[in-house]
Amino acid sequence: MDQVQDFLKANGADDIVHQNILDEASVKFNIPPGVIEEAALNANLLPARYQRNRNTISIEQQYALFKSRVVVIGCGGLGGHVIEGLARLGVGTIVAVDPDHFEEHNLNRQILCTLGTLGQLKTAAAAARVRKINPAIMIVSVPQALRSGNAARILSGCDVVVDALDSIPVRVELARACAELSIALVHGAIAGWFGQIAIQLPGEQTVLDLLEKCGNKIGIEKEIGNPSFAPAVVAGLQTAEACKIITNKDSSMKGRILFIDLLDMHFEEIRFE
């Protein structure tokens, strides 16, 4: 690996290394792109794609992101935007979980759904998209529905779970599994002009407590649908929270739930005790 890092340093510009050099190193040393990107970050070289992360995310934090594994449960409206955001952020391993295929009614808001991906598994479209953004990222497709029986296996070894589901009872199961496995969870949900976000850190069951209050109630999205902008907003907030958890930044979301009203352009927080 020293040889690889020497090559990257010799061909880098200051502490920046461009994509063509990373690609060249991958071919020259016959090493996968992910190992090359990790070697660069480990040598305090910043892949040029992350230049605009500078002063927001340090090289050390960029390395932590690359070493992290994030599971996204649901690859629809929220999940598509979250996966896009995580890939561009530089999360090294993304596990995309969803049993569904794209249908026409997904075109209004699901960023991975195009005329070209209609009929495809959502996880397959997610994998193809991530590979186009950055081949160094490991994308694991799990075309299955999350159940209590497979949750431990799917969530195993991950740093953060992102709840991008579309069913309150399954969200409850996910929050329970994360609480039992002591894994950080970033919850987000949308309906029409509205959304909500909350986090549950290891040792907490805040999101579980919140969602259990909803029980088997039917979400208002069944009546009012979901337009294009709501998933983009809430997924952006979820991705920011995932980033903070991975890079050990304090999150003010601890102990709060944030309700988003895009109709009145109002964010309301409730601090729960």
């Binding site: 589901l165 949900a189 309906a191 002009w193 509205f194 959304g195 909803c214 109630k217 979400g219 009012i224």
Partner: protein, 74 residues
Amino acid sequence: MHIQIKLFATLRKDRFDTDQREYTAGTTVLVVLNDLVIPEGEAAIIFVNGKHAGTDHVMLDGDTLSIFPPIGGG
């Protein structure tokens, strides 16, 4: 007694976003829901002064009651 009520999302339709109302001592959350004609199925998350509360919770003077509908879409 004075109760501040905050409604969110679709619960505001044909009602209000924030209102101050007078109730008699011993009023429960359920009484307020009935007063506002909010079916229990539409009141998913209920907070009184930032704490989770059930529909049988007894309100006190000066309490803030926040009611949210169930949101589950992705």
